[in-house]
């Protein structure tokens, strides 16, 4: 709370003298008198809010200028210069005042006006609600302006679910005009050649749209077209004095418009292809190991045959075993080759499906996912070190 200025304390004394004037003994039991006495008592105790309430009640019961003068002093003590001035203006309207009190009141009004500024607010938004320090500002007084204590005040604009707030500092004795923004802007970005841009179904110039076009606060529809390709219409919410950027990439659609979903079958098929490739590799590795086993057995058999120490039955048995192993290895190789071919075909088919199923913007835009994947890959290599990195969002 701000300290009561010396001047306000000094001015309070003569006014109190005039307030005591209506008090007579016959009035002691009257309700207004009771309330007025209670007001004075609370005021002397520093309980200005309750004192003000009691005085207002007493003035309502008995519109005596002395009571309203007392109210003016309480408002001054509460640092409500606007209300204090209003009370004094009511006081001056009384025809019961002598010249001295009138001059005193006028002097006090001049003093209070050094603590008051005037704020007028305008906006182009129809139906907008304007609040100053949480008090609704009626349209009728916006232009004329309202008196407010000098200092900082918060002005809030609400329209079409859009909210705009601003703090303003009023200087004492001055009139301040505030024009609240009624619009934001929408910027449309798309790198597809010969693209056409639309806001609320009206085509707008691409170059101007890329720099941002002023739009009334609220919801707007934006869309892109390039040849036969069209992008889904995006709903964007524009707040006053805010710039919204909408791009023609599905994933980059502005402000919460759901990204187009692609059919997942391509991913499944690519996964199956990779699994087949893994199986092919595993089979090839197994065949390689079996080949090493066969080679060892074959070399041993060749060596034993050359020494002529191997009975034919043993020769035949080992040769048959080796032949069976060889057949098994050859079958394994065929399986590996078949799996490899199948893996390649399935993977290629899956990739083709991914292209086919991907949303239209992805096909035409520079942000198509293959390019994203490709641009996300980086390779660093040295003689004894290498690093393959893919960076991207998922």
């Amino acid at each position: 709370m701000r300290p009561v200025s010396t001047i306000s304390v000094l001015l309070l004394v003569p006014l109190l003298q005039c307030v005591t004037r209506p008090a007579r003994a016959a009035d002691a039991a009257k309700p207004w008198r009771v309330a007025y006495d209670h007001c004075q008592k609370l005021n002397s105790q520093g309980d200005y809010d309750n004192a003000l309430a009691e005085c207002e009640r007493a003035y309502a019961l008995n519109p005596d200028p002395g009571i309203v003068a007392y109210i003016a002093q309480i408002q001054t003590a509460l640092l409500h210069p606007v209300q204090a001035r209003a009370a004094l203006l009511r006081y001056l309207k009384s025809d019961q005042l002598d010249e001295e009190n009138r001059k005193t009141a006028e002097a006090q009004i001049r003093y209070l006006e050094t603590l008051i500024g005037t704020l007028s607010v305008t906006t182009h938004l129809a139906g907008a609600e304007i609040r100053v320090d949480d008090q609704v500002l009626e349209p009728s007084v916006r232009e004329r302006g309202i008196s407010l204590p000098s200092g900082s005040h918060r002005v809030t604009l609400k329209a079409n679910d859009a909210t705009y707030s601003q703090y303003i500092v009023l200087r004492a004795g001055e009139r301040t005009r505030l024009e609240l923004p009624g619009s934001g802007s929408i910027a449309l970005r798309c790198n597809v050649p010969q693209v056409r841009t639309f806001i609320d179904d009206r085509e707008v110039d691409v170059a101007q749209a890329s720099n941002g076009l002023p739009q009334a606060a609220g919801s707007h529809r934006v869309s892109f077209e390039a040849g036969t390709s069209t992008w889904p219409t995006q709903e964007v919410q524009v707040n006053p004095d805010e710039r919204i950027t909408a791009v023609c990439a599905a994933q980059s659609a502005a402000h919460g418009s759901a990204p187009p979903k692609s059919n997942p079958r391509g991913y499944w098929i690519v996964g199956a292809g990779l699994a087949l490739g893994g199986a092919a590799l595993a089979t090839a590795i197994y065949s390689g190991r079996e080949y090493n086993r066969w080679q060892t057995a074959n070399d041993s058999l060749r060596r034993d045959i050359s020494t002529e120490n191997l009975p034919f039955s043993e020769q035949t048995r080992r040769a048959q075993e080796n032949e069976q192993l060889m057949d098994s290895i050859q079958q394994g190789r065929n399986v590996a080759i078949g799996l490899g071919i199948a893996a390649g075909l399935v993977t290629a088919g899956g990739v083709a499906l991914l292209f086919a199923d991907s949303p239209t913007p992805a096909r035409n835009g520079s942000s198509a996912w293959p390019r994203k994947i490709a641009t996300g890959v980086s390779l660093r290599a040295a003689t004894t070190y290498g690093e393959l990195t893919w960076r991207g969002a998922w």
């Binding site: 070399d299 058999l301 034919f312 080796n322 060889m326």
Partner: protein, 363 residues
């Protein structure tokens, strides 16, 4: 962000690993070339052009000339000669030559595929010659100078390639390059120390005019014997009397030939001899056998327990014989047990098995 990093991996090693993996996974197959062979068996084999093949066992007393007990040759007691226990002959050897039916007791059953043909027998110690030096070739061993080396030759058995045993079989035409067999049932040490002399023998057809050594008595098919001096010795099995006469040759001055072993040669003045088959079994030094070479010797065949193979180039005629081995004239494959040490005074009992007797085929 997905990062795959590698450190301390040299590119050369990585490339090498990839190449090795690819090599092991894709390298070609070069299977060991197994030996081409054809198992031999009794009976007929149209592929080899053999018919009526049969197994036959014989020894120096149970054979066509029965040299060990022959009255004009060895004249030894049958108990002093070699013999088989398995197969066995149930007829007692005598001073006369046996007939064909008696010799047929030496026929053996074919063991069948993967079967073994097993034999048991005994070689009795060598004895000095009981007949004169014209009828018996004495050992040249300095320690045992008079041991009978021409009539106590041991025992044998084998697969004859024809019913008569005298029809030549052409190995070259049938693209056969040698013989293989598996030996078992005998102590390797007996072979290594040459206590048991085993030979793989291939009797062949020879020509009638094949020369024979002049210092060897020559047994004839009827059991008579042409002595070293040119006399013909006969034993009459009915009267049990020996006779001696001059062996007539035509022309008289020619040297003895292998055809002179044919008993009917003198009766028909050589005409029958020309029609009769003359084999190396009639040669006084015997048939060709598997030898280490390159020079012929009287040692054993270089066989060992287990698998054995030899090619025709390792089949040589007996030492000092005057003929060559001809693989187009083969009569069969035989295995013979020969005397090793003339000074041996105790009988040598032996046993062994032959399995998977086969021809080696050209590659």
């Amino acid at each position: 962000m997905v990062t795959l990093a590698w450190r301390y991996v040299r590119p050369r090693r990585l490339a090498c690993a990839v190449v090795l993996f690819g090599f092991s996974a894709c390298s070609p197959f070069e299977p060991a070339q197994t030996t081409r062979f054809k198992l031999l068996h009794a009976g007929s084999d149209s592929e080899l052009g053999i018919s009526n093949a049969h197994w036959l066992a014989y020894d120096d007393q149970h054979s066509r000339t029965a040299a060990c007990t022959n009255a004009v040759a060895g004249d030894h007691d049958p108990s002093d000669c070699s013999t088989w226990f398995h197969p066995s002959f149930d007829w007692p050897a005598s001073k006369c030559v046996p007939d064909a039916d008696e010799l047929k007791q030496g026929e053996m059953t074919d063991p069948g595929p993967n079967g073994s043909i097993c034999v048991q027998g005994v070689l009795n110690p060598s004895l000095p010659c009981r007949t004169g030096s014209a009828q018996c070739l004495a050992s040249s061993d300095d320690l045992n100078p008079s041991m009978d080396a021409s009539n106590m030759w041991g025992a044998g058995f084998g697969l004859a390639f024809s019913a008569s045993g005298k029809e030549p079989w052409d190995a070259i035409r049938h693209r056969v390059r040698g013989v293989a067999f598996d030996l078992s049932g005998v102590d390797e040490a007996l072979l290594r120390d040459k206590i048991l002399i085993l030979r793989a023998e291939l009797p062949i057809v020879l020509t009638a005019n094949t020369a024979v050594p002049a210092n060897h008595p020559l047994m004839r098919t009827d059991g008579s014997l042409i002595g070293v001096g040119g006399d013909l010795y006969r034993y009459d099995c009915t009267t049990k009397a020996q006779s001696q006469s001059h062996f007539e040759k035509n022309p008289p001055n020619r040297p003895l030939q292998l055809g002179d072993t044919l008993a009917d040669a003198d009766a028909d003045a050589g005409t029958t001899a020309a029609a009769e088959i003359v084999t190396s079994e009639l040669h006084p030094l015997g048939s060709p056998f598997w030898q280490l070479g390159p020079e012929a010797s009287w040692g054993p065949s270089p066989m060992h327990v287990g698998h054995n193979e030899f090619e025709w180039s390792n089949v040589l005629p007996p030492k000092n014989s005057s003929y060559d081995f001809d693989p187009t004239q083969i009569l069969g494959v035989h295995f013979q047990v020969a005397h090793a040490d003339p000074s041996r005074t105790v009988p040598l009992h032996f046993a062994f098995c032959i399995q998977n007797l086969a021809f080696l085929l050209d590659e």
